[in-house]
């Protein structure tokens, strides 16, 4: 027996290993515990509160023990990129932005919650659902709707989306990315609104000029193809025709410096804020001076990249005579803060041109019944092979329904046939909601 029991002492080697391991853990715990704890503290350990939409619909709720979302699956999915989740899986949700700093850490007591918070958001869950359905669940894209008088964002959806109560196994590729804020896309023809603004301000005789379209425009060795042969056009007609030949010429005439300045001043290159959520900056490269690429960049191709949110701000400012009501996600009684984004005369002129574009080319009686005062622009952005991304952006020049919008659907083809109907559906839902 002595032999056996002496050997039994080796069992204690296991115990020694465990004591050693626990010591390592405790040292690390003391050293790095704060980082570990606060990494998941974004409302996770019980910062109580509720996140509601503008009508009081609870989108997310946290109490001492549980965190929950809406009971309605469609609401959860449609609003996911607004709410985010408790695990900070999408970096841009309200839960991450507003509840992130609601905890403190101490070695003795771990994380402690601060006072519960109630947030009422400017979004309308029903409009988010409408936008989500308008794009279609099996497509990828983004849509935003904003009141350009108050700056309130009424809907922000990104597809594919996530049902936050599901595990990650069911999540589609790139679904955590909020395509409104956190992704940039080639803008295509909607960028002509920016080129036009630069030209309006920096080409003195713009409105007396005629731009010839022969189906393509050659600059240096590069041919820029157009969608048709538009002949001689005024700038208004060129925008309405979405004529690539004409806008390539306008871009070259306007010049790199002017274009870059306008792109920059309109915020397309900035990290833009939406009440604590931040967008990624767009791209407008600086080495275009004297380069054929300048022509391409003027029609929203080349390496131009923008976020849907940046475009929404821009069209919202145009709608509001150049004044941007600062976009908001948290509902507040305070008067909207306004800043001038676009010169007033430029904004008026652009509004006129966008209105003309709709009236002259988009057949509003058929395509947009009931949308009074629609001013808009389509975009069909080539994406290096494959079906182009479809864009539709603009606003209702209607004091009763002052809505600016942007819709982008990836690989959906022409803007007018795929993005525009989605935008129309969203606008109609918003108008219907106002009626209630």
């Amino acid at each position: 027996m002595k032999k056996i029991t002496r050997r039994a002492l080796t069992v204690l080697m296991l115990a020694a290993a465990i004591i050693f391991g626990m010591s390592v853990f405790v040292l690390r715990y003391v050293d790095e515990g704060r980082d570990w704890a606060l990494y998941f503290s974004r409302a996770n350990a019980g910062a109580g509160g509720e996140l509601r939409d503008r009508n009081g619909v609870v989108l997310a709720a946290v109490d001492a023990t549980r965190s929950a979302f809406s009971d309605d699956a469609e609401t959860r999915v449609a609003c996911y990129h607004v709410t985010g989740d408790y695990w900070n899986r999408t970096g841009t949700g309200a839960l991450s932005a507003y509840w992130g700093d609601m905890q403190e850490y101490e070695l003795l007591s771990g994380t402690t919650k601060k006072e519960p918070k109630q947030f009422t958001l400017t979004v309308d869950a029903s409009l988010c659902r409408a936008a989500w359905n308008a794009i279609g669940y099996n497509r990828r894209g983004a849509a935003m709707l904003m009141n350009y008088k108050t700056g309130e964002v009424l809907a922000m959806v990104s597809l594919p989306s996530v049902d936050p109560i599901n595990g990650e196994a069911k999540v589609a590729d790139t679904a955590f990315i909020n395509r409104c804020l956190s992704a940039t896309f080639p803008p295509g023809s909607i960028f002509k609104l920016v080129t036009a603004a630069a030209a309006i301000e920096d080409v003195p005789d713009l409105f007396s000029r005629q731009f010839l379209c022969e189906g393509e425009y050659t600059i240096g060795t590069v041919d820029i193809h157009c969608t048709g042969v538009h002949g001689y056009q005024s700038v208004e007609q060129a925008l309405a025709n979405s004529c690539n030949s004409a806008f390539a010429q306008i871009a070259v005439t306007t010049g790199y410096n002017s274009l870059y300045r306008h792109v920059r001043d309109y915020g397309f290159l900035d990290t833009l804020e939406l009440d604590g959520l931040y967008s990624v900056p767009g791209n407008y490269r600086t080495e275009y001076a004297g380069n054929p690429e300048l022509a391409w960049s003027g029609i929203g191709q080349s390496t131009d990249l923008i976020t849907p949110f940046a475009m929404l701000r821009y069209v919202a400012a145009i709608a509001n005579d150049g004044m941007l009501a600062t976009p908001r996600l948290i509902l507040s009684d305070e008067a909207p803060a306004e800043t001038r984004l676009v010169a007033e005369s430029t904004a008026r002129k652009l509004k006129e041109m966008m209105s003309y574009t709709v009236a002259a080319h988009y057949d509003p009686q058929t395509n947009f019944p009931g949308l009074y005062g629609l001013c808009a622009k389509t975009g069909t952005a080539e994406v290096g092979g494959g079906t182009p991304h479809a864009w539709f952006t603009g606003f209702l020049d209607d004091a009763a329904h002052p809505y600016a919008f942007v819709v982008m659907i990836e690989h959906a083809g022409a803007g007018l046939t795929s993005a525009a109907p989605a935008a129309a559906a969203i606008l109609r839902a918003a108008i219907a909601a106002d009626g209630n």
């Binding site: 027996m1 002595k2 032999k3 056996i4 029991t5 002496r6 050997r7 039994a8 002492l9 080796t10 069992v11 204690l12 296991l14 115990a15 290993a17 465990i18 004591i19 391991g21 626990m22 390592v24 853990f25 405790v26 715990y29 790095e32 515990g33 704060r34 570990w36 704890a37 990494y39 998941f40 503290s41 996770n44 350990a45 019980g46 001492a64 023990t65 965190s67 408790y86 899986r89 850490y105 101490e106 070695l107 003795l108 007591s109 771990g110 994380t111 595990g167 990650e168």
Partner: protein
């Protein structure tokens, strides 16, 4: 709520300290079964299995040149008769002139036993003397009152219940209350039943109940709808603990059924392997009549049951091969099933048992075959292992992927601080499998680091106790079984805790007693029976028959009747 946190920690520390004091510091005198006399020397025989020889490690040491280092094994049977085996196999052992073979020969009290050049006379103590000597030993639980410790544990669990009632949804209040109530009743029933049969050693049960209570708390937090199931499992675990303990009382019966148990274990694993292929899902689960369980957990118990052996058998080499084959079958089957964690636990246990059983040259052989098994294991589930190893130490680089569980375990563990958020107050239980694979972090978050460390300390205390009590075990079988059981518990705990905290690759084995899930709990309680089997303190264990009872049974020289008496007493205890 806040005061209850501090009270829980204080109670937890007091319970642990009392158990440690009771188990590791109180008197640990040996039992005396007979006296061995050779020449003028006389030594007490303190085990049922004794090595006789010249070596220092011999239990009955005869320091003469004409005695081999280890020449014979002297063994006492359950019925009180002594047998001597010649393990050196040179024919140097005889009883009353009759040569003894490896198959052994009976030794009557007073018979002349020749061991090498020495003559040894075994003098049985007799009922009166044996009982008198036994009465001088310190009885278990003398220095630290087990009733008071259990009372403290009761307070501890009532406070846990209180915390749950504050945080839990109203629907579950009743089931949570019932669960804790059943646990408390079981504890006190167990205590009084043990007292009734004259047992005062209650530390092992106290520690097991302490951990089981924390496990029940985890269930209440993570899956309150399963409280009823968990409660039933606790009852079932306890019944199996008692049954295995009572079964282990009879060493001969236990030793004889080893082969049968081995066959059953292999059959169970084979069944698991056969049916899991068709299921295609969680392979380590077996579903019988709607009740799913993990065969590997039950096989753990069988593994120890088969792996431990009596001293006389240890010195007959042919038994080792059987054990190696059995180990290879177990580990191989687990590797095929894909249960990497359990396979590793078995392998560690294999190393411990094989070292305890063999010692030197054989150990090398066993270790080599063990390494071969590990190699087979690694190859058979390579991508799986490779992925876990790649993540190891880098969990924060892939918080939403491979490091998902570990980072959340660390975050929640740190979030709890030293004092915790209170039962039901954590968020980690929302994560899938947190209540099994990351249960250390769940307790860390809800009860704080101190209580979580107490859980680890509880298992370590069992281990130290097992090693200590193994020295006094009657048979090598009990000593090996107890050490193997605590090795398995420690290996399991180390893989669970260190895996979830990124100190080892994540394996997903259970924390003994605390992880939710039935089969693991059953197995852990049955392990306790093995530890109880080695606890020979006076009144220490229901698995160990009292010295006095055995002497009187042997004295009556009737086998059946006293055995029946012993059973009757055990039966009352159950």
């Amino acid at each position: 709520m806040t005061w209850s946190k501090y009270a829980l920690i204080a109670l937890s520390l007091v319970i642990m300290l009392r158990c440690i004091r009771s188990m590791l510091s109180s008197g640990f005198e040996a039992e005396t079964w007979a006296t061995a006399r050779f020449g003028r020397d006389s030594v007490p025989v303190t085990h049922w299995e004794n090595l006789i020889g010249r070596a220092r490690s011999a239990d009955i040491r005869i320091d003469r040149e004409d005695v081999e280092r280890i020449q014979a094994v002297l063994r006492r049977r359950d019925d009180g008769r002594w047998t001597i085996y010649d393990v050196f196999s040179r024919g140097g052992v005889s009883v009353n002139g009759e040569p003894v073979t490896a198959d052994g020969a009976e030794v009557e009290s007073g018979a002349a036993v020749k061991v090498g050049g020495a003559t040894l006379r075994l003098q049985d103590l007799g009922a009166a003397r044996g009982s008198a000597l036994d009465a001088q030993r310190t009885s278990a639980g003398k220095s630290v009152s087990p009733a008071l410790t259990l009372f403290e544990l009761t307070l501890f669990q009532l406070l846990l219940l209180f915390q749950h009632l504050v945080t839990a949804a109203g629907v579950h209040s009743l089931s949570i209350t019932l669960g804790f109530a059943v646990l408390l009743l079981l504890e006190w029933f167990c205590y009084y039943a043990m007292r009734l049969i004259g047992r005062s050693g209650f530390e092992i049960e106290t520690i097991a109940f302490y951990l089981t209570g924390l496990g029940l708390s985890v269930t209440a937090s993570s899956a309150p709808q399963d409280m009823f199931k968990q409660t039933v499992l606790i009852l079932l675990s306890f019944v199996l603990f008692l049954l295995l303990g009572l079964w282990l009382r009879d060493l001969r019966r236990t030793a004889r059924t080893r082969l049968l148990v081995a066959a059953l274990a292999v059959a169970l694993l084979a069944l698991n392997l056969a049916t899991s292929d068709s299921l295609n899902g969680a392979k380590s689960w077996l579903s019988v009549a709607g009740f799913s369980f993990q065969p590997s957990e039950l096989v753990k118990v069988a593994y120890i049951y088969v792996g431990a052996a009596t001293l006389d058998r240890l010195y007959r080499r042919r038994n080792l091969l059987l054990f190696i084959v059995f180990s290879a079958l177990c580990v191989g089957a687990l590797a095929l099933i894909g249960d990497f964690g359990s396979a590793l636990v078995f392998f560690i246990c294999f190393l411990v048992i094989s070292f305890l059983r063999s010692g030197s040259i054989a150990t090398v052989f066993l270790a080599v075959s063990g390494a071969a098994m590990a190699g087979f294991l690694a190859v058979s589930i390579k991508p799986y292992i490779a992925r876990r190893f790649a993540t190891w130490g880098h969990v924060w680089e892939d918080v939403y992927g491979a490091g998902y569980q570990q980072t959340r375990a660390l975050g929640a563990a740190a979030g709890g601080g030293l004092f915790g958020k209170g039962a039901g107050g954590g968020w980690l239980t929302e994560i899938v499998a947190a209540d099994t694979d990351m249960v250390f972090a769940v307790i860390c978050e809800e009860q704080g680091l101190i209580i979580a460390l107490c859980m680890v300390l509880a298992v370590l205390t069992l281990s130290f106790f097992a090693v200590r009590t193994a020295r006094r075990a009657r048979s090598a079988y009990y000593a090996i079984a107890a050490c193997a059981a605590v090795s398995m518990l420690m290996a399991q705990m180390a893989l669970n805790v260190f895996g979830s905290l990124d100190l080892l690759p994540f394996t997903g084995v259970t924390f003994p007693f605390v992880s939710r899930g039935g089969t693991s709990l059953l197995a852990c309680w049955m392990m306790m029976a093995f530890i109880k089997g080695a606890d020979t303190r006076r009144g220490g264990s229901f698995v160990v028959r009292p010295v006095a009872e055995l002497f009187s049974a042997a004295g009556a020289e009737r086998k059946a009747a006293p055995k029946g008496a012993g059973r009757k007493k055990g039966g009352r205890g159950a």
